[in-house]
């Protein structure tokens, strides 16, 4: 009996000791230290706010984040996605921190930087020039080139290549999307380029009362690929880019990609157009 008791006490003590070790953080009363601070994942991927493609406002992280998640899973790649508020922070992480990858619109990189990167298309952004109807007496029309917008003011995102606009005598004001839209309402910006999905998101969120007054400039539709851009300077960059590329083909093949796309683009015709364009980009970057 005495022997059993000692053994039992020993087991209990071990259990108590073990449980106290694993739950230390929950007992602490001082500042908690995040686990991820102590064990950072080496494979970091960054994007800047671009709802609904990349956003902290959706639990899934947005369209691009969901696609990337699906590919990471199928390719058995461990990586962490982070959405930061500024494009300049994304550039910083890629170039200085040598992060594994960034995703979203292609930033304006120098040729030398581009050579150290691997571009893989992950989705398509359908963009249109838009304007605010009450600020203009007549409709703004796209006549095939930028000449027709001479003398107007364009709202550009920081880092957007605006050389061509300036060459055509278009004044440029830079800012975040929300502030550019506000400037359109207050007649300080005449037009800007926006992704259709992003436009819907921003107008629903911030301009629901006057959403209908933001009009697309007809025939100004431009499609452009959104990329995941791997960094060859990251120790796993080239290898994981290869695995990722195979993975994205895989999720298109098994229909996962289409299912994700359906959540963001419910309209069949638009989605099919988007998918067709995406396949073209994939072929181009094969």
């Amino acid at each position: 009996m005495k022997h059993i008791n000692c053994k039992t006490i020993h087991i209990i003590l071990k259990t108590v000791l073990f449980s106290s070790l694993i739950s230390t953080s929950s007992w602490a009363t001082g500042p908690r230290i995040s686990e991820s601070l102590l064990s950072p994942n080496e494979n970091q991927m960054y994007a800047s706010d671009f709802p609904p493609f990349a956003t902290t406002e959706l639990a899934t992280g947005g369209l691009n984040s969901e696609i990337i998640d699906a590919v990471l899973k199928i390719s058995n790649i461990a990586a962490v996605q982070t959405v930061v508020p500024l494009p300049s922070m994304v550039k910083f992480h890629l170039i200085q921190d040598k992060a594994l990858a960034i995703y979203g619109r292609e930033p304006n990189f120098s040729k030398a930087v581009r050579e150290s990167l691997i571009y893989i298309p992950i989705s398509v952004s359908t963009d249109n020039y838009i304007y605010y109807k009450p600020a203009h007496k007549t409709e703004l029309n796209w006549e095939g080139d930028l000449k027709s917008f001479k003398g107007l003011t364009y709202g550009a995102y920081k880092g957007e290549n605006v050389e061509r606009l300036k060459e055509h005598g278009i004044d440029v004001k830079t800012g975040r999307v929300h502030s550019l839209l506000k400037k359109m309402v207050s007649n300080k910006v005449d037009f800007m380029k926006m992704s259709d999905l992003n436009r819907e998101w921003m107008l629903d969120k911030y301009f629901s009362d006057n959403k209908d007054k933001f009009l697309k400039i007809k025939k100004s539709r431009i499609e452009s690929p959104l990329f995941i851009i791997f960094n060859k300077k990251h120790s796993n960059g080239s290898l994981l880019a290869k695995k990722f590329k195979a993975g994205i083909f895989e999720i298109v093949k098994n229909g996962q990609y289409q299912n994700i796309l359906k959540k963001y683009i419910p309209d069949n015709v638009t989605r099919e157009q988007n998918m067709k364009k995406f396949k073209e980009y994939m072929k181009k970057h094969k």
Binding site: G30, S34, P85, M89
Partner: protein, 442 residues
């Protein structure tokens, strides 16, 4: 009509009188150990400032031992509109102690700990990064390093989060500060003195993901931390910040003229903001923004009847009398007119001087002013003050509003004008404190 009916009507009439009118219980200064004659020096001081067109007008209140001993309005609230005791002011940063009080209400209910990491409630604060300069000649000017620890609630309430305000970059020019301030600008983070067309949550979630200027807990820097606290109140309480403050602070303390957005019927009572060089050039500010490099002020935003932005750092419009009631609650160790808002222990915690270690709260004051949970607290005479004592706590608003609470003398001093720029009223405020202090004769 029977006697009881007359009594009932009289009672109903008295009960429904505006709270402000009924509550201006001004006593003879001598009843609370102050000198009427000495307090009259304040009349001359403010009148001379009005006559010399340094300020358009002001309201000053001195209370002692729970009673108002001096309450005087002088000059103009707006063009052709005299200043009144119930004039409504943009108290801006005097909102901060109100926000801190809201946090401490939740703290007392056990809903948060000061030691909690903010990321527990607002996940965007997880894994903060600090901007540090690279050695000169490096390819990149700065690097982002993981913060030594996460930001806690106490870091926020004591301005030790590592975040900044933009406007101090006008007079502090450290390169790291400027770089962080530029990132704030790029991310459309403002000081909130011009109310953005978004929710405070949207702003805070962006701010949380931007680099810090300093490691949390290592530096005192006046900042947007209190705006974050306002959002934290929303997250923890499940109520909109203005509704929480209305229900839990303004209503119990009968601060009937304190609002985040002004009710239409009170628009008439809102004072105008005046731009003054304190040399005789005094001009009413219209709808234009006052912009000075990193500082942006939009006084006309206060005329908005509603809006999305609810900032814990500077949203509230209030009166001198309402702020007296708020201040008296602190002097009474958390209670006013039989309503207990906070416990004595919490007031002691809020007014303790050991929250920021060896740092000084160098903003309104120089050395020897510490920071409690919501205000600066005097702890020594390193700063060139002419009055006051250890334990005096105070804060200010950017349109030249001030309050000071002296627990030892049980004295409250409140001055409100609506004058810009902020920095030029300091000597007037110091003189008000000298005069209110030297009027104590018991």
């Amino acid at each position: 009509m029977k006697n009881w009916a007359y009594t009932f009507i009289l009672f109903a009439f008295l009960y429904n009188l505006p709270a402000v009118a009924a509550s201006y219980n001004i006593v003879a200064p001598e009843d609370v150990g102050m000198s009427t004659q000495r307090l009259q020096r304040l009349d001359k001081l403010i009148e001379s400032h009005v006559q010399e067109k340094k300020i358009a007008g002001a309201v000053v209140l001195i209370a002692r031992k729970g009673k108002i001993a001096y309450f005087k309005e002088t000059g103009l609230a707006d063009i052709n509109k005299p200043m009144k005791k119930d004039t409504i002011f943009r108290i801006v940063s005097m909102t901060k102690p109100i926000t801190s009080t809201a946090i401490m209400l939740l703290y007392e209910e056990g809903k948060l700990l000061l030691s909690d990491p903010v990321s527990k409630y607002i996940p965007e604060f997880m894994n903060p990064k600090v901007l540090e300069l690279n050695p000169e000649g490096s390819e990149f000017e700065y690097k982002l390093v993981p913060a030594k620890r996460e930001i806690t609630v106490r870091d926020l309430i004591t301005h030790q989060s590592g975040m900044i305000y933009l406007f101090p970059a006008n007079f502090y020019h450290e390169r790291e500060r400027i770089l962080v301030a530029e990132m704030y600008k790029e991310a459309d983070i403002t000081d909130g003195f011009c109310r953005p067309d978004e929710t405070i949550g949207d702003m805070v979630k962006r701010l949380a993901r931007l680099p810090l200027y300093k490691h949390p807990g290592e530096n005192w820097d006046y900042s947007l931390s209190i705006d974050v606290l306002g959002y934290l109140v929303e997250v923890v309480s499940g109520m909109k910040f203005d509704q929480f403050v209305q229900k839990r602070i303004f209503e119990p303390l009968k601060m009937n003229d304190s609002h985040f957005y002004i009710p239409k019927e009170k628009l008439e009572r809102l004072a105008a903001v005046w731009k003054s060089d304190w040399k005789g050039s005094l001009n009413r500010v219209g709808s234009e923004a006052l912009i000075d490099n990193y500082l942006s002020l939009c006084p006309s935003d206060a005329y908005a009847l509603s809006g999305k932005y609810l900032t814990g750092g500077g949203n509230v419009l209030s009166t001198v009398y309402d702020y007296f009631r708020f201040s008296q609650m602190f002097l009474n160790n958390g209670e006013l007119d039989g309503v207990r808002l906070l416990s004595r222990k919490t007031i002691e915690l809020m007014t303790a001087t050991n929250h920021i270690g060896k740092s000084d709260a160098r903003f309104l004051h120089d050395k020897d002013w510490k920071f409690g949970l919501g205000f600066a607290i005097q702890q020594g005479r390193g700063h060139d003050v002419d009055s006051g004592d250890d334990g005096v706590f105070e804060w200010a608003g950017i349109y030249s509003t001030r309050f000071s609470i002296d627990p030892k003398e049980e004295k409250i001093t409140i001055f409100m004008s609506q004058t810009s720029p902020f920095g030029l009223h300091f000597s007037l405020w110091d003189t008000i404190l000298v005069l209110s202090g030297s009027a104590i004769v018991d």
